[in-house]
């Protein structure tokens, strides 16, 4: 499989979950291991370009596929806009849900660069913020959308 563009080969047990492969074997601890029941979304990563909950994907099922984690958001020119906007808008408090929120937010804006607040709330409805900081998370995603629109020269 490739993880963040890097080919990874491991000999693993079939029962190893993707979240544990990422965290324990590859030491990519940005992906958080939360509820373990596919409810909270802290473990959300991309597999073949789609956000999935990595606590409910067997690592072996990702064989031959491409996985992207929160570590890959930052580019050569700095933080991804969603990361920057979460900082600017205080979109995180304890930070536990943040990696999943960021991965879902990035995918939302890639597909829909100008979402309504309802669409943002719908997109993150599979993520739980136990600080209940949803208002600022929505504001941060809105801010990222606006910043990216400004960057493209949209009015």
């Amino acid at each position: 499989m490739t993880v963040n563009g890097v080919e990874q080969v491991r000999d693993i047990e079939p029962r190893l979950l993707l979240v544990h492969l990422l965290r324990d074997e590859l030491r990519l601890t940005g992906t958080h291991w939360g509820c373990d029941t596919s409810n909270c979304g802290a473990c959300t990563v991309w597999m073949d370009g789609l956000p999935v909950k990595s606590c409910t994907v067997l690592a072996v099922m990702a064989d031959g596929r491409s996985v992207r984690t929160v570590e890959d958001l930052e580019g050569p020119f700095g933080l991804d806009q969603v990361q920057q906007s979460f900082m600017d808008c205080h979109g995180l408090q304890c930070g536990f849900c943040t990696p999943g929120m960021l991965m879902t937010a990035r995918k939302l804006l890639d597909d829909n660069p100008d979402p309504t607040d309802t669409e943002i709330r719908e997109a993150i409805s599979g993520q739980i913020c136990r600080c209940t900081g949803y208002r600022n998370i929505v504001a941060a995603i809105r801010h990222a959308a606006d910043a990216e629109a400004a960057g493209r020269g949209d009015t």
């Binding site: 047990e13 029941t37 979304g41 789609l50 599979g126």
Partner: protein, 294 residues
């Protein structure tokens, strides 16, 4: 940490390969697609298969098409794909109504239509949808394909007509031109299992008389997810609020909900009646507009 027990894993290269593996390993083999029902059950040791057969590479099981007056939905179709399908929404808005309230967008990226109906959870939304639609399941085994009407598909909680060495390959929904359809659900929070839910498919004749109707009920104890008494009552009568109320009463009377953490029996019975009325109302309004949601 929740980790499944030991099992072997094979990635299937064709549907025939799946059937061969299921034949060889018997009932201890399980098919995994999205895994969002099976993997949580394996973590809790409620399921302990010896072999998992991964069907995620079998593109022959995916896709949504219309052929010869039938909407065909491949078993490997993801919930997100069904929700995004204009073809599905155009013919049967009930499919989009239901998909919007199944789990959450990230889970819907992974979970499959086939996996949901084969799991046969008593609270599974699509079970009530496909019984309302009078869909037909196509199941493949060593002897080839056979078809099972969805109204005969469910044999009880977590049990279906699919035998150990068989695989569900697709669901076929006969097109019903002019029919209106809708699905309504009450849940405790976004993405949760239904406390109760109802789906309705209504075809109207001259004078607004109900020609054909399908009513599916989810999470209220109907083993076959169907409100047959309410359907019988509606056929041949004018689709109006009086008729809907009578149908709702029939659905509430004949369902068999059980009390659990989602609510007591009387509340669920009330919901079965009220949601039947609302689903009929929405489906009929759509039928008056030629079946569309516009």
């Amino acid at each position: 940490m929740q980790v499944p027990a030991f099992f072997e894993y094979q990635r299937a290269t064709s549907v025939a390969h799946v059937v061969t593996l299921l034949e060889r390993f018997g009932p201890e083999a399980r098919i995994v697609a999205g895994g969002h029902s099976l993997i949580p059950m394996m973590k809790l040791r409620l399921a302990q298969p010896e072999l998992l057969v991964d069907v995620n590479d079998l593109h022959e099981l995916a896709g949504i098409t219309v052929e010869d007056g039938v909407l065909r939905i491949g078993a490997l179709t993801r919930h997100a794909e069904l929700l995004a399908s204009p073809l599905a929404g155009e013919h049967f808005p009930i499919l989009h109504d239901a998909e919007r309230v199944i789990a959450d967008p990230v889970v819907r990226n992974r979970g499959t239509i086939g996996g949901s109906v084969c799991q046969a959870d008593p609270s599974e939304d699509l079970s009530g949808v496909f019984t309302a639609l009078r869909a037909v399941a196509v199941v493949r085994g060593v002897d080839g394909d056979r078809t099972v009407p969805m109204r005969e598909f469910f044999h009880g909680p977590y049990e279906t007509a699919v035998r150990p060495a068989e695989i569900l390959v697709e669901l076929r929904v006969p097109l019903q031109p002019g029919a209106g359809s809708a699905y309504v659900k009450v849940d405790r929070r976004v993405g949760d299992w239904a406390v109760a839910a109802a789906g309705a498919v209504v075809s109207l004749g001259p004078g607004g008389v109900v020609e054909q109707v399908g009513i599916g009920l989810t999470a209220v104890g109907d083993a076959d997810f169907t409100a047959v008494e309410a359907e019988d009552l509606l056929r041949g009568r004018v689709a109006d609020e009086y008729t809907f109320a009578a149908a709702g009463e029939a659905a509430a009377t004949h369902c068999r909900p059980v009390a659990d953490q989602r609510g007591p029996v009387d509340y669920k019975r009330h919901l079965a009646g009220e949601l039947t009325v609302r689903a009929l109302r929405d489906a009929t309004a759509r039928a008056h507009r030629g079946g569309s949601t516009e």
